[in-house]
Symmetry: C2
Subunit: 286 residues, 2 copies
């Protein structure tokens, strides 16, 4: 457990970091969050995360809790205080504390909490053997583009995955197309070698790692299509992988009861992971 957390202007012992029971994050899921990877002490894709945070806040008519510059500073101070080399910063902003009433309260200061965690960013077992995913119905709300803390359906989905011995659950829309994982974006490589991931819309969260991977794939001249793909297409894919801030690119070797390709991590996934790691160490780091 890290030593310090940040709560509304103070660095406090992690075990004592608390919010009021009438915080709107607790009573209404009225808040947003970001998870930023720390690699060798540096933030990865910080710009992308802050731009998305700003968008989530605007969509919910929620103000920044402090200037962007101050927020960047707090992230760095917390990383330093907790001595994080490889790990993550988790930051959450809620509309603040107010007597319980659905509509947005007036004159309330937003709540800002921040934690860090050490994390092994190079999980050898997962990378050597790949992970399993299952498919489940997507039961979420219609504004999945907002990175809100209303994460109950995702928690239910991840629990289903865990009970099935899987790493992640890919959610499937009413038309049979995969939207995304519960905490990661979904990718396949078709038999023709085309890289495919679902287009950004209200149906998915536009992952920051996802966006960087698209840029890297295009730079590398990899054939790429941004479109919905079906469960059947995923089952028949040559490769599959997932992406997120904390897992980078993680190969998938089983989807439901179907072995992906030869049942070993795919070459393109490996290539993209290397490209992302290289990027995360250089121009993506700050």
């Amino acid at each position: 457990m890290p030593r310090y957390a940040y709560v509304n202007g103070r660095y406090v012992a992690h075990g004592e970091a608390a919010v009021h029971i009438e915080d709107r994050g607790f009573q209404f899921a009225d808040g947003v969050y970001e998870v930023v990877t720390v690699h060798a002490g540096k933030l990865v894709d910080e710009e992308g995360h802050l731009r998305r945070l700003d968008r989530s806040l605007r969509e919910l008519q929620m103000p920044w809790p402090m200037s962007e510059r101050a927020l960047r500073l707090v992230m760095r101070q917390l990383i330093a205080k907790n001595g994080i080399g490889d790990g993550i910063v988790y930051l959450q902003i809620t509309r603040g504390q107010a007597p319980r009433d659905f509509k947005y309260p007036k004159g309330v200061s937003p709540t800002l909490v921040m934690t860090t965690r050490f994390m092994n960013l190079d999980p050898v077992e997962q990378l050597n053997h790949g992970v399993k995913v299952i498919t489940i119905p997507d039961i979420r709300w219609k504004r999945r583009d907002i990175k809100s803390v209303a994460l109950l359906p995702q928690a239910m989905g991840k629990q289903k995955a865990a009970e099935a011995g899987a790493f992640e659950a890919w959610q499937v829309d009413d038309e049979g197309f995969i939207t995304e994982g519960c905490s990661s974006n979904a990718w396949i490589v078709t038999d023709e070698g085309v890289l495919v991931t679902r287009h950004a819309s209200n149906d998915i969260l536009n992952g920051i790692t996802r966006q960087s991977l698209i840029r890297l794939a295009e730079s590398a001249g990899i054939p790429f299509e941004e479109r919905a793909f079906s469960v059947a297409e995923a089952h028949a894919a040559r490769e599959a992988f997932l992406s997120s801030a904390t897992t980078y690119v993680t190969p998938i070797t089983q989807i439901d009861e179907h072995k992906v390709g030869e049942g070993v991590p795919g070459a393109l996934a490996g290539k993209l992971r290397e490209a992302y790691l290289s990027y995360a160490r250089s121009e993506g780091a700050s």
Copy 2:
């Protein structure tokens, strides 16, 4: 502000009532709640609320935080400590505090918090003139039958209502049928005098006041249909009203830009409110 809140086994000063920032209610909306009306110091429809609470917990594989008997006692003690005559008890149960990870943690105790509030259960202005509702798209998840704290879409809807000078927003499904309000059930009376409210399913929360009203309407021999109704049908209705634990039966005199009936509270709504009040004072009180 009431003096005391209840948090995990202790009665604490309301201003100091807090949960950890890694409570799953705060980070994942992984919790459920109930609001029980207190009328003249007695709980209204307590049985119904506890049965629904039990169902919500089971659907989320969440244990009770204490025995049902103990929970009933805590509600009464908090009401007494805070001297509540007319008002509400708000109780929230979350999966508890654990290092952030989507899937359900093991060996964690649930969090139980409880607050009370004084409330005027007889708001003369609303009852004499009726309230306005607007219609908005229903963007919520597909398990609206679970009374979870993942209430962000409802908060957004209530905010839209407030900005439109309305009391409530009725949510409309993809087929143009009204599901329910953001914190209340929706009812109309057709031109033929038939009382209509949407049937219980995963599409709505099955209100406890709603269920009591159905029983009372049937006892009174009021023609009743439990079915979906469209926005057009609502606009053309003779009467409309909403129901919830705190508003009982509240007449609606305007839906969007349409005056309901003659633009005054309806007779049937008034009759049902009286019947519910009478019930809440006698066999519905405990």
